[in-house]
Assembly symmetry: C2
């Protein structure tokens, strides 16, 4: 964790932003995989990490703004805990690490909240995403499970987003570390991609490197010859010569900051002519988008710049036709690029996604579109210095979607449907890098990782 | 999954065992790590796997015994699902894989249960361990969430345990695969244990190998120089020459059968004289316990055989004194061996732990002890042919516990408290292997993995 003053400052700023009432923060619990005590790796809630820095399960915190009081809630370790889990600090010791000097047991949460209800204080909490938190809120507030999420505080969400959106130098240093570990994961992925090994074999090496670096994966490793499937799990299918692999993976540091990179490369290193053409269209779109990053530009417009570059390339390839800008404004490119260009990144790989995309990626004057394509653009708002984000255009050839559009004759002035058949088995390609928005423009995060055809084909294997 | 007939047979046997009423089975859902869509790897519920073989999230099943009707509940994939996750089978196709021909949406579960309630059918379900399942049961049955677990059906639990306790040849073949992958994980752990690397570095390699083999870890990797802490997470501390490492890790196959092995070995391969002495006591206890395995013996008695061997060794070492059998019957050994000798293993590494240890590890005439030491013995019952279990004695030098006992002068006729100080920093040692109970005795599962001092010290590094 960072120094205690940082967490105190963050909480003070939050109290000022929220104004009055009490704020409830829930740390995460452990989750059993196939029975209670066989747990997944523990992942603390990111806002809990941001405001308290405490990376342990079974904690909660109450900030009573009206009384200027901070309380950490947790249960004291027993001798059984020490036998099974080693020496454990007391809740008082844990609280002191984050500058809190009042502690109580977890059961007291209900009592504290009842007092606030009785004295008509506003009760603020963030939207819960873990069922354990939903159960606790349902019990404490006496509301049905399905009404808990709707009761989350917009004021609190905005206060949290107003801080977490701007990354400090310390946070940027952590993100740089995360990206550099991610670089090593991708170099290993390229080097181990050979005929006859399985997707899971390589994905296991990639995930192992994230763990060996002391943290974890920031999200499930995507390593697939079916790059057209946007969220995919590696399979036990063997790689074949000539296949194109899409690897989207990133590390999380021990302090839980994320990196998020994608590379697309051929099994056995040699691109076919068509793979090279498609890949280079994507790469040019990525570079054009990156080069336009600066404070003041809307990320929606950066997205559209990338879309235009993709359409230009697809026209050269013979798959699209007509006016580029019109094609994009009509959404014709979404047959091949169905999703958004990128997202905020920080303590979460999709930073603050639990708080709601409208609050994080858009603004009061800018509502997220519901159109196919744009509805998947997680970030649209005007960029500001201190934002950290990803740029990740791609081209995805999804047979089911191509068939659906072709049957409807959808946007046929822009799409050469007769040329699609050659691409049914192509798969997909994506390139992704992470950037900091600076006062004057942008900065690539992490050391540059190879991305040109020449560099990928020339990478020394071991 | 296995052939469809196997699942049909298992369900038919279960219907016969339960007799009447309806049985509700809940598959697991995905769980978000730090927001809803950033999920941990999916792990299906083991009983759902056993009776249906379907390894996908968001499924449920109803078996109406009285009407001899089986229904699979799931929601149909949308075009968005196909774009994001690739071609998806319909619920009807999924159900057919397990021989079920009636399907409906998940929302119908409440309706089905209400009908059963109205017609006064008994409703059977297994004890839930995931909060999502608790919420669903609380809603469907209209009971407070903290009363859901208490409503689980003992009849159903017994029916499930009566089948899952006896492993078929197909299951044993899977467990052999799991153990053999686990062997590779342990060899890598030994080879990479060197001065200057971190515990997490090696643990990452170990976990990566489980993933690369196509499945996953069966439980969180324990790789620690603090072997006295029974459940421990690897740290970013660097290994030092002379330290003793305890590695407890096992793979889960793609079909979700577990392996579970422990080895204890020195950083840089060379045991000290004291490490060698302690390790060999543990090894002798493990071998004595294994050699006594056979149908008809209570595992509690196998546990006590191991305890006696440990006490004999500790007497030779000067840490204990007095009559061996009396020392064990008084629990004096629990200062150094605080836990149980082993547990059932199968689809869960602690097989069926979610169903309750009394049902799985004990019997109607044999109640689990509440004494320190024996209360942690997960398996006590008479062994039968077809059981798969672990044997894992250890010696753990826990300073807090030694201080506590010494201050009380506890069982001082058996413990040489003046000799303990030399062991405060020792750590702990454990050896664990997996066995099948056969008609005549036992069989080691997997290929033998090195465990003697000579073999560990002589292991070629790369």
């Amino acid at each position: 964790m960072f120094s205690v003053d940082i967490y105190k400052q963050r909480r003070n700023a939050l109290k000022k932003a929220v104004g009055k009432g009490i704020i409830l923060f829930f740390g995460n619990e452990e989750v059993g995989m196939n029975y209670k005590d066989n747990t997944y790796h523990f992942r603390q809630d990111s806002s809990f990490l941001y405001f308290f820095g405490l990376d342990k399960p079974n904690l909660a915190a109450v900030i009573n703004i009206d009384e200027d009081l901070e309380i950490l809630l947790g249960n004291e370790p027993t001798i059984d805990d020490i036998v099974w889990m080693g020496t454990q600090p007391s809740v008082t010791e844990i609280a002191a690490q984050t500058g809190i000097f009042k502690v109580t047991g977890l059961r007291e949460l209900g009592v504290l909240v009842k007092k606030s209800v009785a004295s008509r204080q506003e009760i603020h909490y963030l939207p819960p995403y873990r069922s354990e938190t939903i159960i606790k809120l349902s019990e404490i507030l006496s509301v049905p499970f399905d009404q808990v999420k709707g009761g989350a505080s917009a004021t609190l969400i905005k206060g949290v987003v107003a801080q977490r959106s701007y990354k400090s130098d310390l946070e940027i240093a952590e993100i740089n570390k995360a990206v550099n570990i991610s670089n090593e994961m991708h170099l290993a992925a390229m080097r181990h991609s050979a005929e006859g090994v399985t997707e899971k074999y390589v994905a296991g090496i990639v995930e192992g490197l994230a763990l060996s670096a002391g943290g974890n994966i920031a999200y499930p490793v995507i390593y697939t010859v079916n790059g057209q499937t946007l969220h995919n799990h590696p399979t036990n299918n063997k790689l074949k010569k000539g296949q194109l692999v899409l690897c989207d993976s990133g590390a999380e540091t021990p302090t839980h900051y994320a990196g998020d990179l994608t590379r697309t490369f051929p099994v056995n290193q040699k691109f076919s002519q068509l793979q090279k053409q498609v890949y280079q269209i994507v790469l040019q779109a990525e570079e054009a988008a990156a080069n336009s990053l600066k404070p003041g530009i809307r990320f929606l417009d950066v997205h559209l710049i990338a879309c235009e570059k993709l359409v230009e390339g697809l026209k050269d390839l013979g798959l699209m036709k007509g006016d580029v800008k019109e094609a994009v404004s009509r959404g014709a490119h979404t047959l091949f690029f169905q999703c958004g260009l990128g997202h905020m990144m920080g303590l979460d790989v999709h930073d603050m996604e639990d708080l709601g995309e409208q609050y994080v990626g858009y603004s009061e004057g800018m509502i997220k579109s519901k159109e196919f394509g744009l509805k998947s653009l997680r970030l649209g708002r005007e960029l500001e210095s201190g934002f950290v984000l990803t740029v990740e255009p791609g081209l995805y050839f999804i047979p089911e979607l191509m068939d659906m559009w072709q049957a409807e004759g959808k946007l046929k002035d822009f799409i050469n449907y007769d040329k699609l058949s050659a691409f049914r088995d192509f798969g997909g390609a994506r390139v992704e890098e992470n950037f900091l928005i600076t006062d004057n423009g942008y900065q690539l995060l992490g050391e540059p990782l190879i991305k040109s055809v020449v560099d990928i084909e020339g990478l020394s294997r071991f």
